[in-house]
Symmetry: C3
Subunit: 128 residues, 3 copies
């Protein structure tokens, strides 16, 4: 973890745009947490026109969800959501009404990476 899932309609991101956004998010996340980059997993989930709805109408929602370990402060997570919102909006060109950013959590002990159960969040890193 983190596990980022970015869901947008086909055509929103070129391959180059995905790479640039994945790099920006990864860099941001690692500066924020001090994690090694390889812990950051990102999957782009691309759906055809007609599979995304906002307000009950066909639209092109731009959704970022991220699963992190429990243990960060509310203030830390608000800052994280705000920064991610800005990155996704700039990269996708989506309007406010199309967008959603949500942070989900699970105990570190319920996640494995690098062949190991993840350690608990240790103290509170500072946003550089």
């Amino acid at each position: 973890m983190p596990l980022y899932t970015i869901s947008t309609e086909e055509g929103v991101f070129s391959p180059e745009a995905k790479l640039a956004l994945a790099w920006e998010i990864t860099d941001f996340h690692c500066r924020l947490t001090g994690l090694d980059k390889d812990f950051v997993k990102i999957i782009f989930n691309t759906f055809p026109n007609g599979d995304g709805f906002v307000g009950g109408k066909v639209a092109a929602p731009a959704i970022l969800t991220v699963l992190i370990r429990i243990g960060r402060s509310a203030d830390y997570k608000k800052k994280m959501a705000l920064e991610l919102w800005t990155m996704i909006q700039r990269a996708s060109g989506a309007r406010d009404a199309q967008m959603l950013v949500a942070i989900q959590e699970a105990p570190a002990s319920q996640a494995m990476e690098m062949g190991m159960i993840m350690p608990d969040v240790d103290g509170e890193p500072v946003l550089v």
Copy 2:
């Protein structure tokens, strides 16, 4: 939020059926909560035959998950699950054994929509 994800095998829903179901869920959710419709995001996740399994066998699971803000009562969420079950089953024609409806939660402070951190759930709306 809410963020609805509806996962079914290819061919279960026509474009018209998706639109009708998205409208029905959105209308239901907004009557239940009093939210403005634009907060309701729905993504249909369509997988090819052979990518869905029930009981270890290739099947056509029909899965609805929805991510909402923490703060609703258990009774409220049970009613919500029951209503969603009925809508998905009617629209998809899936049998009981193929279906799953699950409500996931995150703190309002961990979600952004309309350019703002979401406010906490305020009191208990009534199912109209």
Copy 3:
């Protein structure tokens, strides 16, 4: 529930490999919990090369997430994560740095299967 989602790049699993892995996970889960097999739902989420990132670079992440009912002990969930890690790694051939296994939870009362709200986890089953 459980609801398993297994996300890999196209070409990692043949249809036969998906079937074998789905069967292995389902059998494991039912031996662990005593659940009837039909409660186990698995969806393979396959993405094209260029849609998965590890450490900010295009890679082929191999991700398993599973949504279960709240109520299992931490030790139980660690064992579950370890066993699932082994199964996914053997089936996918992914390296440690590509992989992530995460267990998410929701209250039983927020899930429906077989037309019923799920009962609470009852006591602690033993890993056979």
